[in-house]
């Protein structure tokens, strides 16, 4: 990993670099020369990158650059026409989304995709879905197994509720929550999955500064305390440049630059395509 020696993110990068260094430890995720297009629209065109353990990797780019599509490929929603994607050493292309989720890939969505009639609690409990090991019969009769597992899951979910400061909304159907809180619930649901890789698609969109700060904290804590590698997409450059260890810049589905925030920020191509004006 190209540990950032300068810039505001230096301290964090060192923490991350402490966890792993490319070359010595195999990457959690490799994305190799992936190409994806829809009738007439090329969404991803020859993108490659790797994510190291405990790395905070950011993907940025103009609207329509293909960032969300990258996430959709990773989580199995889109099937690319070419390329290879390995997660924890296993080829995941072609696997159904739920299989990939079971392997430990969790994500949040750009347009909040919560289960809007369910409470915050149930949404988070759903994050733990594949950690349960009991079947329909046990569920119908609420036998010991189901009961025990549900209780254990509840305890973990409560930890996350505490962590994300959601206690006040616990029993609210999420559809009634303000947008910003919904985004936090989504993060909570992803964390409840105990992910081995976390994808965050614009986690601070629609948040004011204060809330962005909170979210930044949560993201960093998740990475530092749980050691989960994270791929982050956002248009809030302040956040991305502060948090990310490395940044990949896409434009029209093609990679434009890949490097530390500092490197990327000063790349004229990036400035022209995305940042606009001075960095």
């Amino acid at each position: 990993m190209t540990g950032g020696e300068e810039g505001p993110g230096a301290a964090g990068v060192e923490t991350a670099a402490g966890h792993a260094t490319p070359g010595t430890v195999p990457p959690v995720l490799t994305f190799e020369d992936v190409g994806l297009s829809f009738a007439g629209v090329t969404a991803i065109d020859g993108v490659s990158f790797e994510v190291a353990p405990a790395e905070l990797f950011a993907v940025i780019g103009p609207n329509g650059a293909g960032k969300t599509s990258v996430f959709n490929v990773l989580s199995g929603v889109y099937r690319p026409q070419r390329g290879r994607v390995t997660f924890l050493g296993e080829d995941i292309l072609g696997l159904p989304p739920h299989r990939i989720a079971e392997m430990g890939l969790a994500r949040t969505f750009q347009n909040v995709e919560l289960f809007h009639n369910l409470t915050v609690l149930d949404n988070l409990m759903l994050g733990r879905h594949h950690h349960f090991g009991y079947g329909p019969l046990s569920a119908l009769l609420w036998l010991g197994r189901a009961r025990r597992q549900e209780l254990a899951a509840r305890a973990r979910v409560e930890d996350i509720i505490d962590f994300l400061d959601l206690a006040a909304w616990r029993r609210h159907p999420v559809r009634l929550l303000p947008y910003g809180v919904q985004k936090r619930v989504e993060l909570g649901r992803a964390l409840a999955m105990e992910p081995r890789l976390l994808l965050l698609d614009e986690p601070v969109a629609g948040m004011n500064l204060e809330e962005t700060e909170d979210m930044a904290r949560f993201v960093l804590d998740a990475r530092d305390e749980l050691g989960v590698p994270i791929v982050l997409v956002d248009h809030d450059m302040g956040l991305v440049m502060d948090l990310a260890d490395r940044v990949l810049v896409l434009d029209f589905g093609r990679p434009v630059a890949l490097g530390t925030p500092a490197e990327v920020q000063s790349d004229p191509k990036v400035i022209e395509a995305y940042l606009g004006g001075a960095p």
């Binding site: 629209v41 329509g64 599509s69 629609g206 004011n208 904290r217 248009h235 502060d242 995305y274 606009g276």
Partner: protein, 261 residues
């Protein structure tokens, strides 16, 4: 002028969300409305555009005046015809319609200007023109946001209520939206801008309001707000010395906001 007087709004007959909000949007101005998640900004806009009903919400007190005339009993369609148009939170495009069809629905109340407005919107967002035959639901998030803004312009509104127009837009586009707002304001459209990007909003607004838990807690000219210590700290992210803080340094501790005491 669009004016809100002492407005109270309730959801589901029990949840009081707006508690006596008063606010004025003078014709020709750009007014910014800031506030944390859940403060009630969206609810206020719903009250202005007549959409509370759909959410089981209700105005229980106060009034909304358009050029001195009460309009809070009117249906959304009537309000649109009177020149109030809204960009709804969360884009809300008609995902099954094409880009162009979405825009045409926006022009429902102004069929005569449809063609001209369409050209104008395409001028603002060339990308939309490129994809005009495409099914809008497949657009990327940011593209959809452009469409939502463009659609609101199609009725040629006198008052434009923008609920977080820059949400999910790339920095370059945020700049463009900012310019766009300035531009359409110059062309005579009055704007009420709800934004989380306070720096952007206050840089173009003439006046600003800050809302917390259903109340207006600050009501000042934009320039004054920009200079306010709390606004600087809580909305602009400037430290005491005016330097930009790093997100890495944020602690889980917040100073008590002055306006709450």
């Amino acid at each position: 002028m669009l004016e809100v007087r002492n407005l109270e709004a309730v959801y589901d007959d029990v949840m009081l969300v707006l508690r006596g909000v008063s606010l004025r949007v003078p014709a020709g101005s750009v007014v910014a409305l800031l506030g944390a998640n859940g403060a009630g900004k969206t609810t206020l806009l719903r009250a202005l555009s007549g959409l509370l009903d759909v959410h089981d919400g209700e105005i229980t007190k106060g009034s909304v005046l358009l050029d001195g005339e009460p309009v809070h009993g009117l249906l959304p369609a009537q309000l649109v015809r009177r020149g109030i148009s809204q960009v709804m939170e969360g884009r809300r495009i008609f995902a099954e319609l094409t880009v162009e069809e979405n825009l045409k629905v926006g022009a429902h109340t102004a069929p005569r200007q449809a063609a001209a407005n369409l050209e104008r919107v395409y001028g603002l967002f060339p990308l939309l023109k490129e994809r005009r035959k495409g099914v809008s639901g497949y657009l990327s998030g940011g593209e959809q946001q452009m469409l939502a803004v463009g659609r609101a312009l199609m009725s040629g509104p006198r008052y434009l209520l923008l609920d977080e127009p820059s949400l999910g837009l790339a920095p370059t586009l945020v700049g463009q939206i900012r310019d766009l707002v300035v531009e359409i304001n110059k062309q005579g459209t009055t704007i009420l801008l709800v934004e989380q990007n306070a720096a952007m909003a206050l840089s173009i607004a003439t006046h600003g309001y800050v809302m917390e838990t259903g109340k207006i807690v600050m009501d000042r000219p934009a320039a004054e707000l920009l200079a306010d210590e709390d606004i600087k700290e809580f909305y602009l992210g400037l430290g005491a010395e005016g330097a930009v803080k790093s997100f890495r340094e944020v602690k889980h501790y917040r100073r008590r906001k002055r306006w709450l005491s």
